[in-house]
């Protein structure tokens, strides 16, 4: 199996998980890079992006799985040819072969940019630091079945709070990526729940890196 490491930035962050896969299916065809098809009644090029990213979140470390069929086309060339035909904001950073199972991906590192239009409230960083060092951090999670209480504290590996500018605080965090998974934006939900006076006016979120159980970069 082959993997493509790609980034999703700028306006491409508004593209959904399913649409990203469709974009790649077409890009392979445009680039004349054959990939294996699914079996069955209406076969289509098989691609799969591990760890769905929510719409509106940027990423530096998306991983797409597929099977490249033409051995003549090098990984380097595959990358170059794809990048010529991908839409703005989606760029392949690396093409490689991998036998690691997707489920070995355990943690992800994300950056949250909290924007305060009228300046960071005083003492915000300290309050955020103590918020994330609480024993439990319960938030209400809305799902189709209704609302459930979820303690996100056990899923947070680390949080670094940083005053980035007079109007922005950045949170760099490592959270559980799957089984169970913690959307980095839950950290913002926690602010809204416990420190509503610190609720930011706007948040930008970006997935920065993914790791395995031992904390090594996952590819």
């Amino acid at each position: 199996m082959h993997r493509l490491l790609f980034s999703k930035t700028a306006d491409a962050i508004w593209t959904s998980h399913l649409d990203v896969m469709r974009i790649f299916q077409r890009a392979f065809l445009r680039a004349h890079i054959p990939i294996a098809h699914t079996q069955g009644y209406s076969p289509h090029p098989f691609v799969s992006v591990i760890l769905p990213l929510s719409v509106g979140t940027a990423s530096q470390c998306e991983i797409l799985e597929c099977t490249l069929e033409d051995k003549e086309i090098s990984f380097q060339e595959t990358q170059e040819r794809l990048n010529q035909v991908l839409p703005e904001g989606i760029q392949v950073k690396e093409v490689y072969e991998s036998s690691r199972k997707a489920k070995e991906l355990t943690y992800l590192q994300a950056r949250l940019e909290l924007c305060y239009d009228s300046g960071i409230p005083s003492g915000a960083s300290e309050m955020l630091n103590s918020l994330y060092s609480r024993e439990t951090l319960e938030i209400t999670k809305k799902s189709k079945k209704g609302e459930t209480l979820l303690d996100i504290r056990p899923m947070i590996q680390s949080v670094q709070v940083q005053d980035h500018s007079p109007t922005q605080i950045w949170l760099d965090t490592v959270v559980c990526a799957q089984n169970p998974s913690c959307n980095p934006l839950f950290l913002v939900t926690a602010i809204q729940t416990y420190l509503s006076q610190l609720a930011p006016d706007f948040v930008r979120c970006s997935r920065e890196e993914v790791f395995d159980k031992e904390g090594r970069v996952f590819r």
């Binding site: 700028a10 306006d11 508004w14 593209t15 392979f28 065809l29 719409v55 839409p87 706007f202």
Partner: protein, 611 residues
């Protein structure tokens, strides 16, 4: 602007509609551009991006050096609300610049029920609605498209209209505009000059005079304006501009596949069909050119599905040649070839097998009427025998789904015709019981009826539409005659079709109704979740106009039509003659068999009207 947009987007559905950035979008440097066009489609992104005309003209305009054409679509209700709340004006997707900054604002209009979107978009752009309130050369608003053969309801809002096919005329308009801008003309001067381009209609140069009963007495052109404006056509499709490098949307759209246009016009002359007449004469692309365009479009887009589009694809003489060649290309590459609007009368066994191979198992028929008498009256040359034979072939080849389209309220329709629909459905079921080869899978019949809308430039342009109450009576009559669960019957609601009839044959006075309706929230009318008939009815009342005057009234034989100034190249006498034949249930042969003398051949001297 962008920062504001970034903050709005997380709160709306399908934000990808509003950001552009797709593969193949055209970005130009503003320094090298002197004419900027905001090309607006008055419906959602998914619908607009599926429109072949929009794609062609996007290519035509951007092919011109110094011209940058960008796309604008109607925002969905949630986005509109956010834009208004944050005072974010309507912008174009490529540059994200406000529409208000563009030289020209062009609309491509395909159906009447998008008129309110046009007004609403201008409003969201912060551009004055009425043409007379827009001074100067900036923000000229013009429109074209399938539904602009009677632009009168929009006359007050449009500076000019481009009639017919846009490949050539659009360039002429933009060239003239560039000259005007360079020489700093007055708006009036530009309008006078643009009216001299064949196919351009400037509504403000014509003055309607009404009689006491509300009908038109005359439409008086001012001295510098042509008496009639004849639509434009592209004479040779093989050499006409066709974009094979097109934009590939990043999100799923309605027709998410490559679409190649086979021919324009239709050799049939179904008497209710506006497209059939307005696109005359028939002009085809050669199979050779079509194949090259198809392959080039597939390769440049990476699509794995392709459709042929035209009004009646199976009438294409070279269909077999083309389909064979195309399938040879498609099958090894696992590309799906789908052929829409097949006709019952030339659906061959071979074609069926080929289609089945490429994944199709549903048949579509549009007999439009339930009895042979009424089909003859509307000149729909499909016989029951043909439908049943086709079904038999298809059912024995394993097909098990049929889609049937009919109209209710056609001129001369009786209850017998309505019940004839149920009988035909029953006969199809009997064929399946006798010949179906995969009975286990069951048969599914999707039956749908639309409400007949009389349209300009058809033999039925004089007809009255039946009342919504009468239409519903016929719907229920049909419903009660269908007794099996195999049939899923859907009908169009009557309100929308009645409004469509009003706008289709409407005059300039309806501008006030449109404005009032939009002011009170009418928009996205073709979407059930937004359509509000009550707003419309109130708007008619407050403007003192009766919708029935337009929809349910038979127009007089010699009556001055609101669209009198416009010509599609067909003679009025031809339409009247066809109407008389309808009342005698007499058919007219198709253009391939024999010319019926409609007049369209004069548009294309030396050409043949055939595909």
């Amino acid at each position: 602007m962008t920062e504001q947009l970034q903050r709005i987007l997380p709160t709306v559905q399908k934000p990808a509609r509003y950001v552009g950035g797709e593969y193949g979008q055209v970005i130009k440097s503003k320094q090298e551009v002197d004419v900027r066009v905001a090309f607006c489609f008055p419906d959602t992104y998914e619908i607009g991006m599926s429109n072949i005309g929009m794609r062609i003209l996007y290519g035509v305009m951007n092919d011109m050096p110094g011209v940058w054409c960008e796309r604008v679509f109607t925002p969905w209700g949630d986005m509109e609300a956010q834009m208004r709340r944050h005072a974010l004006p309507l912008y174009a997707l490529e540059s994200k610049d406000p529409v208000k900054e563009f030289d020209l604002i062009a609309f491509t209009v395909g159906y009447e029920m998008s008129y309110t979107n046009i007004l609403n978009m201008l409003n969201l752009a912060g551009v004055p609605l009425r043409a007379k309130d827009r001074k100067g050369l900036k923000n000229l608003v013009f429109a074209g498209g399938a539904c602009m053969y009677n632009p009168e309801p929009l006359a007050d809002f449009l500076d000019f209209v481009s009639l017919g096919e846009g490949e050539e005329i659009t360039k002429e308009i933009l060239q003239l505009y560039r000259k005007a801008k360079l020489e700093d003309w007055e708006k009036e001067e530009f309008l006078r000059a643009v009216a001299q381009i064949p196919g351009v209609y400037v509504p403000s140069f014509y003055e309607p005079v009404y009689q006491e009963d509300g009908t038109l007495q005359a439409i008086v052109p001012n001295p510098s304006a042509p008496k009639t404006v004849l639509k434009r056509i592209v004479k040779d499709l093989d050499s006409a501009y066709y974009p094979t490098d097109t934009l590939v949307p990043s999100m799923e759209i309605v027709h998410d596949r490559t679409n190649v246009e086979v021919f324009r016009g239709c050799i049939r002359g179904c008497r209710f069909c506006q497209a059939g007449f307005c696109y005359r004469p028939v002009r085809a692309k050669s199979a050779q050119v079509l194949y090259h365009q198809a392959v080039a479009s597939l390769e440049s887009s990476g699509n794995d599905e392709i459709t042929l589009s035209s009004l009646s694809t199976s009438d294409y003489k070279e269909l077999d040649v083309f389909a064979d060649k195309m399938l040879d290309y498609c099958i090894p590459r696992k590309i799906k070839l789908s052929l829409p609007s097949l006709r019952a009368d030339n659906f061959s066994r071979e074609l069926m097998l080929k289609l089945r191979k490429s994944g199709r198992s549903s048949l579509t028929f549009a007999p439009e009427a339930g009895t042979q008498r009424l089909r003859d009256a509307i000149n729909k040359n499909v016989t029951e025998e043909e439908i049943l034979t086709t079904c038999r072939i298809a059912f024995s080849g394993g097909w098990n789904a049929v889609k049937l389209y009919f109209m209710l309220g056609l001129p001369t329709e009786t209850d017998e015709d309505v019940l004839g629909i149920a009988e035909l459905v029953w006969k199809i079921i009997k064929e399946w019981k006798a010949y179906g080869s995969e009975k286990k899978r069951g048969l599914s019949i999707n039956l749908s009826t639309a409400f007949f809308v009389p349209k300009p430039f058809t033999p039925f342009q004089w007809e009255a539409q039946i009342t919504p109450e009468e239409y519903m009576r016929r719907v229920h009559l049909l419903q009660s005659a269908i007794k099996t669960k195999m049939v899923d019957y859907r009908y169009h609601g009557p309100e929308l079709s009645r409004l469509e009839a009003v706008l289709a044959r409407g005059d300039r006075r309806l501008g006030a109704v449109l404005e009032e309706a939009v002011k009170n929230g009418a928009r996205l009318d073709s979407w059930e979740e937004y359509f509000r008939n009550d707003i419309w009815m109130e708007a008619f009342a407050s403007c003192g106009l009766d919708p029935n005057f337009y929809a349910c009234r038979e127009f007089g034989k010699e009556e001055v039509f609101p669209w009198q100034t416009i010509s599609i190249g067909l003679r009025r006498e031809f339409f009247w003659h066809e109407r008389e034949k309808a009342y005698q249930s007499l058919t007219t042969s198709d253009c391939r068999t024999q010319c019926a003398g409609c007049g369209a051949n004069s548009l294309c001297p030396g050409g043949v009207c055939d595909a």
